[in-house]
Symmetry: C2
Subunit: 142 residues, 2 copies
DNA sequence: GGTTGCTCCTGTAGTGGCTACAGGATGTAC
DNA sequence: GTACATCCTGTAGCCACTACAGGAGCAACC
């Protein structure tokens, strides 16, 4: 049984974020010491590690919640998790393709600037006039 | 001179977002018709296109503000913009590398699930126990 | 002239996923 | 015993939007 600080260090998840996950019901309410401090065991470490990893993979909280729910469900849940993962894979592929495009353009922009003349720099104009990469407003490409 | 709806369609930026940009001073206050409707000209279209494109490239609003400011500055501003773009390129490269790692893992996860037996699906366990991607600086995850 | 239906207006509040306090209690090391 | 770290609750803030509510303006057709 470890304290929240140790759980944080062990999983790389911020203490405030752990409490936030508890608040929104993504992590179960842990046991407490007599003085009211949270105590976590191995299953908590596992679950939080899973959550962190899933967040890194780009899954949103609702999806993670679903996956955690599937854990306790009867058979066929694997197919469901797999389907979710497949959707996510497509999204990841899409992001990679977009980022590769962005990389090309940034490289081109930097190159067009590097050859000396300040007056010739057209980064902003180039960006303004460039055709949109993908019509997906609101997508955060992180 | 066009209305906000036309500007939105032309640039792919949501009307609400255009007004938001005006509110935070990222877009200048436009002229108005007698009845109070916003009217935009070519420079507005250009600036908004630039902003949208920069957002797609992953620049945050503060950085875009800086770049727009540099536009009106004397020489040497190109080097500044170029430096900002270079920083951004490094960040984009980092994201691509991480996403490629994630893609591998998702693929592996889906594969491990695809061979029939429900009881053998270990997606969640795999994810819980996998070493964190982020905490591996310099590691080549491909 | 009336009506339908689209666009636009302001203002405020909500979203996701955290993150940062304030103000206090508890635990540990010297 | 005292200094300092860690923890507690609760609330408010962050970014970059997005979604209303409740109303006004405008264009087209009958």
């Amino acid at each position: 049984m470890i304290a929240i600080g140790a759980l944080s260090r062990r999983t790389g998840v911020n203490i405030e974020t752990i409490r936030y996950y508890e608040r929104i019901g993504l992590m179960p309410k842990p046991g407490r010491t007599e003085s009211g401090r949270r105590r976590y065991g191995t299953p908590d470490v596992q679950q939080l590690a899973f959550i962190r990893h899933a967040r890194e993979l780009g899954f949103d909280i609702a999806t993670i919640r679903t996956m955690l729910g599937l854990r306790e469900m009867p058979n066929a849940s694997c197919e469901e998790v797999s389907r979710i993962a497949q959707d996510q894979l497509a999204a990841v592929d899409d992001r990679i393709a977009r980022l590769l495009g962005l990389k090309d353009e940034l490289t081109r922009m930097i190159g067009s600037c590097a050859n000396g003349k300040v007056a010739d720099c057209r980064i902003i104009e180039v960006m303004a006039n460039h055709v949109s990469l993908a019509a997906r407003p609101g997508q955060n490409s992180s």
